[in-house]
């Protein structure tokens, strides 16, 4: 298939409005196979404005007189408005964007064409072999799986039981195990009708089951959609805002996810128990719990490299179906099929952790925002496909660039790193009380609030910290010169 078949009008004159805080841009609009470009006239700023078509979540067109308006709502929650000269051009460009932004084929997607300068294919794809978080001294383990296939006949599986027995045997003598099922007891029981279910007490001695129902699937997606809707409504009254925030339940989901992760972590750290987490498939809320529990307990997962490894291992290699879950963000009018902001829920929980422990994560809010953006639309291949198997088939690792190599470039560091980071060897036990949880304004209000005040603060933090490094760094030179006497 040729992209050119989908491009109905290549060019038009247009004005781009990027929200209340940014000045409008005028120039020539151009649709290519993967991008929307706006090149300002020669007299204006030479910067080319570029938008990955994949990041368009929904598109709305209106025509009046001899010009038209296209509103693009992006997966990163940005809202852009294009005023275009010519009715025909408007409609054609809109159709082209619609077609190109929703292509399903993986191997024709932009990551397979993206060849940035300074990066080599194949870099940063290889991490250590997957291993669960393992606390060497205490010998407790954190495991994840999918549900056991008990079914209506209440089947048992000797090997599965032996495996869990072996887990306890490999741990401290007399160690206990806890199975954290991320579904309610009732849902877990109902799953038997479709061949699933949850571990029967009698079959797994030493293991105790806890049910902590976490929201998933469509209700989670709807919660996200409602929150973004509420955040876009600038006219609402104060009271209206708080009830909408309560009504969309997003923060309630954050609270539940974070407390379940804390429970799992606490079981290991405080009770010396082994923890097995699963829901139904073990590819969604299970991963939220296991990855957060590791951040809470394991200082090495809080470094820049450790966190990337955590995401690679606990999300990408664990088979979170990114392609399905992140097909659309909060603006799509289509009825959600497989979409769910599970990964965003995880990122939000990490942000809450970072807000309560501002010195203990080596990465900053910028890193979390970047992961959100790239999970939904990216020039890199890291978040492509739904599983390792699919990635192998599409040769993602050899034919696209890894996001990690992109993020680890020196020029990105100021944006992504937390200048306040000081390694903290202890576990991070966050408060999950409502007073302690906040709306993640940096994400949900990123494009509606003026960015300058927080940018100025960020600059200042960097300045203070680097000032100190400078003074510290300058000392050895004195010593060295002393030696040369």
């Amino acid at each position: 298939m040729e992209f050119s078949e989908l491009i109905r009008t290549g060019q038009a004159q247009a004005e781009l409005l990027r929200g209340p805080e940014a000045p409008p841009l005028r120039g020539t609009l151009c649709v290519t196979g993967h991008h929307l470009l706006l090149s300002p006239g020669p007299q204006a700023t030479p910067d080319l404005w570029l938008l990955l078509l994949r990041s368009v979540d929904s598109i709305e067109k209106r025509v009046a007189g001899d010009c038209g308006t296209i509103t693009l709502r992006c997966k990163d929650l940005r809202v852009l408005q294009l005023d275009i000269e010519g009715v025909e051009a408007t409609l054609n460009i809109a159709r082209s964007i619609e077609a190109l932004s929703s292509l399903e084929s993986v191997i024709t997607s932009f990551p397979f064409f993206y060849r940035p300068k300074g990066l080599r294919l194949g870099d940063a794809w290889h991490f250590h072999p997957p291993e669960r978080y393992y606390k060497r001294v205490a010998r407790e383990v954190l495991l994840r799986s999918s549900q056991p296939l008990i079914g209506p006949q209440k089947r048992r599986c000797a090997e599965d039981e032996a495996l869990l027995r072996a887990v306890l045997a490999g741990s401290r003598p007399g160690a206990r195990g806890f199975i954290v099922d991320t579904r309610s007891a009732q849902t877990a029981k109902q799953a038997r009708m479709t061949g699933g279910g949850t571990e029967a007490k009698a079959a797994y001695p030493g293991w105790k089951r806890l049910h902590r129902p976490l929201e998933r699937g469509r209700p989670l997606q709807e919660s996200f959609v409602h929150l973004v809707e509420a955040c876009g409504d600038l006219e609402q009254s104060m009271d209206h805002w708080l009830s909408r925030l309560a009504g969309c339940r997003w923060l309630a989901h954050v609270k539940e996810a974070l407390s379940t992760a804390c429970l799992a972590a606490q079981g290991m750290e405080r009770e010396g128990a082994c923890i097995l987490v699963h829901g139904a498939e073990g590819t969604d809320s299970t991963l939220v719990v296991t990855s957060l529990a590791q951040l809470i307990l394991d200082p090495s997962s809080r470094t820049m490299a450790g966190f990337q490894e955590l995401v690679e291992r606990e999300w990408i290699q664990a088979g979170h179906p990114f392609q399905l879950r992140c097909a659309h963000s909060a603006f799509s009018h289509a009825r959600p099929k497989h979409e769910a902001p599970t990964f965003l829920l995880f990122l939000d929980c990490v942000w809450q952790l970072g807000r309560q422990f501002p010195l203990s994560l080596e990465f900053g809010e910028g890193m979390l925002l970047a992961l959100f953006d790239h999970a939904y639309a990216s020039p890199f291949g890291t978040f492509l496909c739904n599983s390792e198997q699919e990635r192998c088939l599409c040769e993602v690792r050899t034919r696209t660039h890894s996001l990690w190599s992109g993020l680890n470039q020196l020029k990105e560091q100021r944006k992504l790193r937390n200048p306040l980071y000081v390694p903290n060897p202890l576990a991070l036990w966050p408060s999950v009380e409502p007073q302690s949880l906040r709306l993640w304004q940096g994400l949900f209000l990123r494009w509606t609030r003026p960015p300058e005040p927080s940018e100025a603060a960020w600059e200042k933090v960097w300045q203070i910290v680097t000032d100190q490094e400078k003074t510290e760094g300058s000392q050895p030179t004195v010593s060295a010169s002393e030696l040369q006497l």
Partner: protein
């Protein structure tokens, strides 16, 4: 002392609010100024100090098998739940506190016995730190349009106004006196802030006694004089900060608001801020939400909404923004009033001034602002904050709301303020503590009669002395965003307003961020300064060495010295942190007490830096002191400020979490 029925009760339990199963056993002491709880635990001997003037309500609950519960709610949002074994003791404590928390004369207040060991001269200098005369000079006054008036000398015209006031030059004494007779409590229009960039001003007054049709020529002339004092504009705004309905209701009582037809060139505007009774109830409702035990997210958000608190905060901020924009963008002067002009008017004028003038966003400037718009203009501190026993309907969190408005702005503009959140919290604390004389009484006249400056100390001097604690490391005085008037978004949206957990849940450390960015950055700054000094010293030494040509070995020995300062060890940055009860109601893990060995150590970042002058914040500092010390801390022999609500709190490490 005659009010203390029992000075000491043993085996009292202090219940932990977050997990009610946790309780500390200790001894309760009642002194003339404080309630003190000292834990028995020999390793901590943790002390909790509560000043009587901080006590808001005392509630004796029904006796249970374990004892008689006593609930003490404080004005600084501390909540103490005690269980006293004997009902009789509990009753004695209750009766004593009811009396001690409601003094009937000023002399009973703490500031008259508080003695921070300063000599007379230091004390007097403390009172001179904030000088309103200087402040008006800084604004550029007097000038061609404004002059200092002596019309209110000896408080002859208005007893709740200051003696020194700025009025338009064209306003004669006759006009002022005439106008004052047409205004509630004779609070005539006077200058609050002068914006020298464009000559526009903010003036304040009380409501006019217009009823349905009354007029007053002098009052009309007074407003005209204000307009004329601003040659750049041919009108003034008159902002009535009450809801229109309330203002109209006042007309029936012979009060009301300005009729645009009677005054030449005024633009009249209502900005609906609710009255003190609505605000008192709103705070009450919000605090009930804060007290909920493990509320769900929606319980909390709905409760917050139903309290209306953030809506009221937004209304005050919006009014301030309206006025600041009228002054800076339209160049128009504004006259602000409400009913008496000492509550909402004070809030709105001070918010507007803060938005307009970066000076008020500095540490000293902020003190000046409170001194000017609140203290000097007769905000009724005594009535509003219940320093003396009085009408409970007069109590209302008016200045608390202003302080929260400032915090909301600080959250939006992290680089625009020289001071930090702790400064606001300590000011709030001092307003209620009555440890210093600044916030006593209802007017300057009363304070003068009471000889406050001769008999008490100034809190401004105290705060200024400890200013290092209150600095915002992110302050950028020179930045384009923070110079001049603050640039607010055209449509201030609701979701920029947040619940201020650092104030209303401030005593529940478990709910606060566990690490402080402010403290860390201040420590880093201090560190680099030290390093720079050392570097300079080393440089000097190097020069000397080069001159004297000392032998090498000696030099080698010295080079290792600087390393002792460099960097922050990890342990310094780890904070006290223990898991909460995450298990909810689920019967989860068997109750196995965690081994002591693997508990997280409780180490606080800036323990050394926080030699907190105000021990309420030293809740993190593990100062230990035994009961033996109590005698020397009693107010009569007090050497240092035992201070407001100190809770010398060793964050307990117990992992009381999973209970079956």
């Amino acid at each position: 002392m005659e009010h203390i029925r029992t000075p000491k009760v043993e085996n009292v339990r202090l219940v932990d609010r977050i997990s009610s199963k946790k309780a500390a056993l200790g001894t309760l002491y009642l002194t003339a100024t404080h309630v003190i709880f000292v834990e028995n635990a020999p390793d901590t001997r943790k002390e909790t100090w509560i000043l009587h003037s901080q006590i808001s309500t005392i509630e004796k609950q029904a006796t249970t098998a374990t004892g008689c519960p006593l609930l003490i709610r404080c004005k600084n949002f501390q909540l103490l739940q005690l269980i006293i074994p004997q009902e009789r003791d509990c009753h004695d404590v209750y009766l004593s506190l009811v009396r001690l928390a409601r003094p009937v004369k000023y002399e009973e207040l703490y500031c008259f016995s508080f003695n921070p060991k300063l000599d007379k001269e230091e004390r007097e200098q403390g009172w001179m730190l904030i000088d309103l005369g200087e402040e008006y000079k800084r604004m550029g006054l007097p000038n061609n349009y404004w002059q200092l008036s002596d019309v209110n000398r000896d408080y002859r015209v208005c007893d709740s106004y200051p003696a020194d006031l700025y009025v338009p030059r064209s306003a004669t004494a006759h006009i002022i006196v005439g106008s004052s007779k047409f205004r509630s409590r004779r609070r005539f229009p006077a200058l609050s802030y002068y914006y020298r960039e464009n000559h526009a001003s903010i003036c304040r007054s009380s409501q006019p006694l217009s009823g349905f049709s009354a007029r007053c020529l002098e009052d009309e002339q007074m407003l005209q004089a204000i307009r004329k004092a601003n040659p750049g504009s041919d009108f003034i705004y008159v902002v009535d900060t009450r809801p229109k309905l309330n203002a109209m209701a006042n007309r029936a009582a012979g009060k009301g608001y300005e009729n645009e037809d009677n005054y030449s060139n005024i633009k009249f505007q209502f900005i609906g801020i609710e009255n003190i009774h609505v605000m008192r109830n709103s705070l009450q409702k919000m605090l009930e939400v804060c007290e909920l035990k493990s509320p769900s997210m929606s319980d909390f958000l709905w409760g917050l909404e139903n309290s209306g608190w953030l809506r009221h905060i937004k209304a005050i901020l919006d009014a301030g923004i309206f006025i600041a924009k009228a002054v800076s963008e339209e160049g128009a002067s504004v006259l602000v009033h409400c009913s008496d002009g000492w509550d909402r008017t004070a809030q709105v004028c001070s918010v507007a001034s803060l938005l307009l003038d970066p000076h008020y966003r500095t540490l000293k400037g902020f003190m000046v602002l409170i001194e000017k718009d609140w203290i000097s203009f007769g905000h009724k501190f005594n009535h509003r904050y219940g320093n003396l026993d009085g009408d409970p309907k007069e109590i209302s969190p008016v200045i608390d709301q202003f302080i929260e408005c400032v915090w909301q702005l600080m959250e939006q503009f992290p680089c625009a303020f020289e001071f930090n959140e702790r400064f606001l919290i300590h000011i709030q604390n001092h307003i209620y503590s009555c440890q210093f004389g600044n916030f006593l009484c209802n007017s300057q006249k009363e304070r003068q009669e009471l000889k406050i400056q001769e008999r008490t100390h100034s809190s401004w001097a105290h705060l200024w002395k400890n200013r290092a604690e209150y600095l915002n490391p992110l302050f950028r005085a020179d930045h384009s965003q923070t110079r001049g008037a603050l640039r607010l978004p055209t449509a201030p949206c609701s979701f920029t307003h947040k619940f201020w957990s650092g104030m209303y849940n401030r005593f529940e450390k478990g709910l606060q961020p566990r690490q402080s960015v402010t403290d860390y950055l201040m420590a880093v700054k201090e560190e680099s300064q030290q390093l720079e000094e050392e570097l300079a010293a080393l440089g000097e030494r190097l020069e000397k060495i080069q001159k004297v040509q000392l032998n090498r070995t000696e030099v080698r020995n010295k080079q290792s010295e600087p390393s002792k300062h460099s960097g922050f060890s990890t342990s310094d940055n780890s904070t006290a942190n223990t898991p909460q009860d995450y298990s909810g109601n689920v019967k989860s893990f068997p109750s196995r007490s965690p081994s002591q060995g693997d508990e997280d150590s409780a180490l606080i970042l800036t323990q050394d830096n926080l030699k907190s002058s105000d021990p309420d914040l030293s809740a993190n500092s593990d100062q230990e002191s035994g009961v033996e010390d109590l005698s020397c801390r009693s107010p009569s022999g007090g050497e240092h400020a035992p201070s407001e609500d100190s809770s010398k709190d060793r964050d307990s490490d117990e992992a009381v979490f999973l209970t079956a």
